[in-house]
Amino acid sequence: MSEHTSDRPTTPSRRGLLFGGALAAAGTLAAACTGNDPKETTPAAQTGNLGGGDNAKPGRPVTIGFSAPAADHGWIAAITKNAQAEAKRYSDLTFKPVEPTNDINQQISAVESLISAKVNALVLLPNDGEQLNQVARKAMDAGIPVINLDRVFPDKLSYRTWIGGDNYGMGVAAGHHVGRRLKEKGVAKPVIVEVQGIATLPLTQERSKGFADALKTYGFSVTAKQDAKFTVETGNQVASNLLQAHKKIDALWNHDDDQGVGVLAAVKQAGRKDFFMVGGAGSANAMREIKSGGVLEATVTYSPTMAASAVRVARLIAQGKGMADLMELQVPQSLTLTSETVTRQNVDQYLPLGFES
């Protein structure tokens, strides 16, 4: 890597860059040169527990198809990465991912191609549950069990098992942490501020509702909330303004650790130390912040490890096995992950599960 200095590969210095195609090619090259961390980060799922019984032992060989949106966000990137890493662990499993895309039509045709390839099971994180429902149903009708990841299909006939996070529960977890800490401190009328994700999404609304409901049990309520767009930059922008709007804050919940990087930068730039902050989703970066003991005190998980679990479950379903720790012979119809609260006390335990944003 050392030979690739950073200031060298600027575009104009290369003759080939006169034209767009060449630009893209050189870009690829440059990206490869100046790429990121040379060490592969440890896939989070590998450190999880390996399941009980003898389910992990090789069984009937199965092929599992996988389709997810293109990553424009650390969480989605972690989903694909976790699924891939998990699949590698089984010698009896052939993993067949399709090109990730943010285009509904492309995802539909990608899933159709998996159906005609006759995979044994399908792990599907749809761009939009409503719009992908039809094609998921088609897979089920063709006898391919669909493991629906996170964004739920409206029609239960469209999936065999749903596995996903609990947005409402995330808000509840954050609310309880905030409520408890403020009670401990004995703050009477706390100023509680919330930095949301994209406000129009149902998941954001559920998170906010859970947060408000939990706070209510302590007799507290949210003073102000503002929506960002899940990006660092919007997080920074919204937080900067919110900090101006409220001279005194007791607690701040930020829905998303990715945008949280921007929120933390804004807090630091404003020089504010009067409150504590709770994050959301559980990125590795957030966990490192928690460990170092800054303003970010906790984060509530919405873990992309669910993708690894989904692959695991898909394999079991395709092989006709159940979950070893349950009485039932088959995998349950729905699995809702609980939102766990990561604090300084338990952060070491969670760090390996945190995703790189």
Binding site: M1, T34, G35, N36, N241, Q244, G262, A265, K268, A270
Partner: protein, 330 residues
């Protein structure tokens, strides 16, 4: 002969456009004052504080610097849709582990070079490849975002602690204002001088106002076009440094839809989208108006969606006023 038209114009517009421009700026300044008044009335404790003013200026810095470059491109008769993507690319390139290992100075140089380089590619495609600016920079937008995603592996790249000199641009304050505000001010001042006091600026107006006339007057229109896109790219590089300082990250998601914000600011600042006429001061005022609106809405706890509606309305009103200013009152 269209002498009749000419003479009618003479009659209808007896004063030089300079006067109208000033009137237009008065309109923008009035809008700023009005917004400030709203701020003082609705949030007396929070709005008119030095901290909030510094905050507004710091928020305006990234888009403001980009708007300076955009103003040159638009007055020169072009458009640059790639600005947000170039800023993202520059921020990503400057924050790769490899770049970061050389320290903050190299990171800054890297961001500037990446921005300028991509701007030069835009300029080459447009001036010498004869691509329509809209298409060339649209292609650059898509390609630069893609490249940024590939380089960053779609992750948010943190500025490492040993390079916290970058963040210091945002945390260090002089006279109560963070350094990034001074960067913004310096770029704006340099842009104003370049546009109004140099041959480059004069030729920008000529090339944008009538490229054929400029060519026949002996101006190297293509080289000038190339330079103006490179300048816009350079501004994107500067903006990337500011965004790195503010968010402590480089990311392919930075600068999303900045191209539209910058174009909107330039337009409400009174610059003709067809080129040949405009002012830098107007563009900067346009940026401040937009930033102030965001600030006011958040101070008052209003939703993003309402901000968007207000911004849309302001664009329309500004352009309507502008048109009334340009046309004869018949």
């Amino acid at each position: 002969m269209t002498a009749g038209d000419t003479d009618l114009k003479t009659a209808a517009v007896p004063k030089a456009p300079r006067v109208r421009r000033e009137v237009h700026h008065i309109g923008l300044v009035a809008a700023l004052v009005l917004l400030a008044l709203v701020g003082v009335v609705t949030e007396p404790d929070n709005f008119a504080t030095s901290g909030n003013v510094a905050g507004i200026l710091a928020l305006a810095a990234t888009i403001g610097v980009i708007t300076v470059g955009m103003t040159f491109v638009i007055i020169g008769g072009g458009i640059d849709l790639s600005v947000g993507a170039l800023m993202a690319l520059a921020s990503v390139w400057a924050t790769t582990l490899a770049t970061q290992s050389y320290g903050p100075v190299v990171m800054v140089v890297c961001a500037l070079l990446v921005g300028t380089g991509a701007g030069l590619v835009n300029g080459l495609l447009i001036a010498y490849g004869r691509l329509v600016p809209f298409i060339a920079t649209l292609a650059m937008l898509v390609a630069a975002r893609g490249l940024a995603q590939r380089m960053s592996d779609r992750k948010t790249q943190l500025v490492r602690p040993e390079n916290d000199a970058i963040e210091a641009l945002s945390t260090t304050k002089v006279l109560g204002l963070p350094l990034v505000v001074f960067i913004f001010a310096a770029v704006a001042a340099a842009g104003w001088v370049l546009l109004n006091r140099t041959t480059f600026g004069r030729r920008t107006f000529a090339v944008g106002g009538n490229p054929e006339a400029a060519r026949l007057a002996g101006i190297d229109v293509r080289r000038h076009t190339l330079m103006s896109y490179a300048l816009s790219g350079l501004c994107c590089g500067v903006a990337a440094i500011i965004i790195m300082a503010r968010t402590t990250t480089g990311s392919s998601t930075h600068g999303d839809l900045y191209e539209l914000d910058a174009i909107a600011a330039v337009i409400i600042g009174g610059t003709l989208l067809t080129g040949g006429r405009g002012t830098l001061a107007g563009s900067i005022l346009g940026v401040l108006v937009f930033t102030l609106i965001t600030n006011l809405f958040i101070l008052n706890g209003l939703q993003t969606s309402d901000q968007l509606i207000a911004k849309g309305a302001i664009i329309v009103v500004a352009v309507l006023l502008q048109r009334r200013g340009l046309r004869a009152p018949t």
